[in-house]
Symmetry: C2
Subunit: 539 residues, 2 copies
């Protein structure tokens, strides 16, 4: 099982998990045809695996193994999937139809099969150069201000929308993996590296006309994040992709995308329990050391992986708390702050010392996304997170030298109307923007909150005004190059409305709508080329 090879064809045709999981059903589980298993496997992978695990052993959500699901029975499972639970399970009645809910309820009563491992040779077989280096342009082939491009995830399209921040035009859609989570750039912002959930890691060149993918490689069959080496002589030498399945990370040549090294993240959690599905949640380059941060979700281990010598690979295994999700740096870039959402904590890592500094209880399931740093009148430099489990934005001090009393302690909290996914600010902005995308009601999740940095007062903004069948939420904020505009996504998830998404652009001073980009397929995260390099913060 473990050494079974994956052919490139499997990746190209479909998500392979369905076929892998089509094996032995338990006696008491409902019967399913191979075709049904295949369809259900696809749905499970796209909609359920993120929280319940590829192996259905549980993660953010509970385990879905036949021991428990058969006893719950088909009707109860269908009801939970349809209406959700108070424990945090989403309702899927607008997302899946009745037949799909029936199918997936049957599916989760089957015995899951362990997917095969992938060797470096398997990974290498998926490596494709689309545009060879000799055809790369020496200068931008278009007159657009590419440093103000918004590289935008079109989640269900499996593409990145490249939007011109000056003209607000959709320049092109570059085909990438499915449901991209995050994109990271080269140190000059020209190349963008995009990790699809299906494991497809793509490199996009913004200088081409139109921008396009130059190379790609599948680093696993289920993945989330990517990072690019920016430090010193290793700038733009390596790219790292992280896998949910297999649970490993892959270091590739950032130039060619050739995979060079694969390292397993299986191991023990902070209490010493073995975790077979120890998934890589999020990846970052550290501004002050030649290292990547590899955050292993279920083990609560932040691995600081030194890329200065990948043959003698130094990894500092920093024990923090479970389950690690997403994080960001303080404004100096020295301290890394990551949500341990199962513990309701933020963990703070000193990336210079390569050690845990502190843990902080913030609220129910912290989720900062790209996070926000600003100067608080009382506490000095602070950083904040929103929460998946409650309408709360919590912020804490991040300046142990200048403001030691506030460092890694809560400076303040503001209550919003509902749980959210993202918080965002900018040094030029008087505001901190907070979404409420996780609330089930449209009259909350179609609004975002804007906090005044000085007064901590909230102003609600009605971003989306969509009918119920669009199942639309306002989600994810990003500033433009100048830091004067804020772009907010309207993500329409309802069946038949996935092309009705939009981005609403606000003047950050007046909080008035300024412009809109319409007819986007499921837009979520947006990455402004200039802003994401954080040159304004770190010089």
């Amino acid at each position: 099982m473990h050494k079974k090879a994956l052919s490139k064809g499997i990746f190209a045709l479909s998500f392979p998990l369905a076929a892998m999981m089509a094996g032995g059903a338990q006696a008491a589980a409902p019967e399913m045809t191979a075709e049904e298993l295949d369809r259900a496997g696809n749905i499970y992978f796209q909609r359920c695996a993120g929280c319940h695990g590829t192996l259905r052993a549980g993660a953010t959500g509970p385990g879905l193994l036949p021991e428990s699901t058969i006893e719950m029975g088909q009707r109860r499972l269908e009801s939970i999937i349809t209406f959700g639970t108070e424990g945090g399970m989403n309702n899927f009645d607008g997302i899946l139809d009745e037949e799909e809910i029936t199918l997936i309820s049957k599916y989760i009563q089957q015995t899951p099969e362990e997917p095969p491992e992938m060797s470096l040779a398997d990974i290498r077989e998926t490596w494709t150069i689309v545009v060879p280096e000799e055809e790369w342009p020496d200068s931008p082939q278009h007159d657009r201000n590419w440093e103000n491009f918004m590289v935008t995830i079109l989640r269900d399209r499996g593409a990145m929308g490249i939007i011109d921040g000056d003209t607000k035009e959709l320049v092109t859609e570059a085909e990438t993996g499915y449901a991209v989570h995050v994109a990271k750039s080269s140190s000059d912002g020209r190349f963008w590296y995009v990790q699809g959930r299906d494991g497809r890691l793509s490199k996009i060149d913004l200088w081409m006309d139109p921008p396009q993918v130059t190379a790609e490689v599948f680093i696993g069959i289920d993945a989330r994040d990517v990072a690019v080496s920016h430090y010193g002589e290793w700038a733009d030498k390596y790219v790292i992709g992280g896998g949910y399945c297999p649970p490993h990370f892959v270091i590739a040549d950032a130039h060619t995308m050739e995979p060079l090294k694969v390292v397993s993240t299986r191991g023990y959690d902070t209490e010493g329990n073995y975790v077979h599905e120890a998934r890589v949640a999020a990846l970052y380059d550290t501004p002050h050391a030649p290292t990547f941060l590899v955050n292993v979700k279920e083990t609560g281990q932040v691995w600081q992986v030194d890329y200065s010598d990948i043959d003698n690979l130094r990894i500092d295994h920093i024990a923090s708390a479970e389950y690690l999700h997403d994080g960001f740096f303080d404004s100096t870039g020295r301290y890394f702050m990551i949500a341990a959402n199962f513990s309701n904590k933020m963990a703070f890592i000193d990336t210079v010392e390569r050690k845990l500094v502190s843990l902080l209880n913030t609220g129910q399931i912290p989720h900062p996304g790209p996070g926000a740093n600003w100067i608080d009148p009382e506490c000095g430099p602070v950083a904040g997170t929103t929460h998946l489990g409650q309408g709360l934005m919590t912020f804490w001090g991040t300046d142990p030298e200048g403001h030691p009393d506030h460092a890694w302690e809560i400076c303040g909290t503001v209550e919003t109307d509902g749980p959210g996914l993202f918080v965002r600010s900018h040094p030029n902005s008087p505001h901190v923007w907070i979404d409420q995308a996780m609330h089930p009601e449209a009259d909350v999740n179609q609004w975002v909150m804007v906090m005044d940095k000085e007064t901590r007062e909230l102003t609600p903004i009605h971003v989306a005004d969509r009918p119920a069948e669009h199942d639309a939420v306002a989600v994810h904020m990003e500033y433009d190059q100048s830091g004067t505009e804020v772009w907010v996504s309207i993500w329409a998830r309802g069946r038949g409305h996935q092309d009705d998404g939009a981005i609403v652009i606000y003047d950050d001073k007046t909080l008035e709508e300024k412009a809109r980009v319409e007819n986007l397929n499921t837009p979520t995260g947006k990455f402004n080329v200039y802003n994401r390099l954080k040159k304004y913060e770190r010089g």
Copy 2:
């Protein structure tokens, strides 16, 4: 499966693998009763798992999975086990009886089941303090010269024989785990840490009268090696035990034996293939850094594990070659030299830089055991290994500063009459001793070879003169405290003769027999308290 707990009772009563493996037999495999599976599992674990793997996936020996074994069939399997093969498989006709060979041949046609994982809590449950610290003596409770004790593995007894090197008396037998591979001491030589193959890690106090076990903990269900922190302020703070199954290492408090940390070694080999059964072959403390070396057999990774901060555990993953087995240090203690026996190479690690220095092809399956360092007239400081696959002792330069032309290159070879396990020398000795224990014929394996350091000439020594039914070999040499005596084991493996083992003691100058310790149960490795601290080498 992975989180199934192991009760302490299982360890205490029997080897648990048999019960674990008693699961689903393939349709075409011969039928076996639960009792037969249990017995066969025990035999497999004791005699076969070392080479073929606990999961029978293969390691030094080939995989023994139903896909291949059922096709080979019962008769062919029995024949191979009885007579061995030219490929290196031992003959077991003197070791197992006909019924046992029938049983084990049936057993290896069954589908192996994966043993459960062990959590830190599971390991902690096996922790036992036998003699609490307040009862430890402040000074030796006997008048013996304990620094000249020979701590001797009585392999099949599951005990360490404590032999007085001055009087040649067996002082006591301290009960430990089964088939101990190696013993390591505290930095003053008083306490000895002993890792049994059954995972039992025991601490013995030589100051007690008689010496006895003070505490123990099971770090796995199949293990090999142990090391103790000797560096700086961490001297005698930590002990590390390494597991074949589960594949992990455990860091415990060297004082109390309380388990503190467990780290998985599952991962990818040097070519990027995932290895589920990535076993810890050998463990060492490094004289020049606060680190343990954890050698992961099947992945070819030498992990240099920094114990200066076990909560933020730095591990340098040094890629070398497969399969790592045993190693030793050069005379300065800076360079670590380990056999990668599947690659027929020695790998050289700079433990100060924490990097691979070089790889060297030496011969068929290098196996140095404790190794030997000496001064060669031509090459300066050298080190040597014997080989499991041929009658050859190879030695190479180890002094990159003083003798750069010879460093990590072969200085010379000497051919012996047969493959062996161990090579040994001492700074005060004119000789290098080499055993031939792996040769199938008594007229070779009952002899050892002694090389003159100056002339490289060999003198054969007839250590054992035993009848065939004793199945006795001369194996493993150790110097006494003064470096003037060499102790050689006679290991009688034949059924009914396991108590007929002995140690023959030679005058290293004259090569004449000087004394003998008789009636020992399967004596193999011997560890002289004073010599193993290598104070003569490193001051």
